[in-house]
Symmetry: D2
Amino acid sequence: MDSIEKEIIKFRDERDWKQFHNARTLAASIVIESAELLELFQWAKDEEIEEIVEKKLDKIKDEIADIYAYLVILAHDLGINLQDAVREKMKKNARKYPVDKAKGTSKKYTEFVE
Amino acid sequence: MDSIEKEIIKFRDERDWKQFHNARTLAASIVIESAELLELFQWAKDEEIEEIVEKKLDKIKDEIADIYAYLVILAHDLGINLQDAVREKMKKNARKYPVDKAKGTSKKYTEFVE
Amino acid sequence: MDSIEKEIIKFRDERDWKQFHNARTLAASIVIESAELLELFQWAKDEEIEEIVEKKLDKIKDEIADIYAYLVILAHDLGINLQDAVREKMKKNARKYPVDKAKGTSKKYTEFVE
Amino acid sequence: MDSIEKEIIKFRDERDWKQFHNARTLAASIVIESAELLELFQWAKDEEIEEIVEKKLDKIKDEIADIYAYLVILAHDLGINLQDAVREKMKKNARKYPVDKAKGTSKKYTEFVE
């Protein structure tokens, strides 16, 4: 367990909050926190986004921290290593999105023309 | 930059996908991926959650990896250190949720009785 | 246009808010409001849900009203009739979820065994 | 009960799906469906939104229908009249967002300067 994971789990366990945590409640919590993050940009035009980032950076940091904390707890409780999971996923995605087909396009792989 | 961050950013930049990434599109992406994670538990009763975790662990890992990847990219692009952000947030939360008031309750701090 | 649609659009147009509304901002708004609704049940055990509904009915009504208002605006702006859309969708779903296969199960149609 | 509500509830009850429905699962379902709607615009620039609406109108209709169906079921099961709820909410919002302050701005009422 790395240091930040230990600190987050310690914070949780000191408060005896594990009883409220399962894969569903933690998934819901990530949705809820990320929707709060999205709310900061709810009505923004593309060209207004950077300005909002500057003005609301502290709030953005807080929301990102909440998402990260719930994600670390979820991975911890399920015995998932975040780094390993993302490396395995990138391997899969490298096959779905090879550089020559995916470069510069936001198309979903299901939309690639053979 | 730690290793996993470098690998994720390399994957993104090889595909020239930075042009699609800003705080709003990445926040939306975290919402979308976490809603896909929540969907795995959409109709589950409390006592069915563990069984779903066992049966669908590979799918869960993939969704968690997607959330983590977008979160790392978002933090990277905004110059936010995830560990620092979570430590600062835990300091704030330690004041809102002191152990003696928060222990064993899922109440929001706004519901604590003085 | 039925009466409630007219009232909602009038409210919007009096405030000159159409300039902030497109399919993306309205979809995001429905996500944001429904995540606020979900937050009321964030940590609830199954058997606590009814009690929360009783205690927080006014807040629940407000969130449901927000979702409904954004949905009516979105359908209005895109020229979609909500009733027609849901009838067409139920026809599709009746084929995916015929009563004899779907009765009493929360399985996704992709999980039905032939 | 109006006609569309009757049809939706009939569809649900024929399949004996009420057992899976409570305020939490239905709120989660609205989040999930609206995130699928948002996904259609995940990477879109502002000026690309209209084109996506044209190209993907059938998919958009389906997602909107899903959101509407879950919302009608939720309101039905909780004894909430959608029209009444939205009228009450508009009354509250009319106080928070009076035309003279709210016209042409996407600011939240908490950001209005006195």
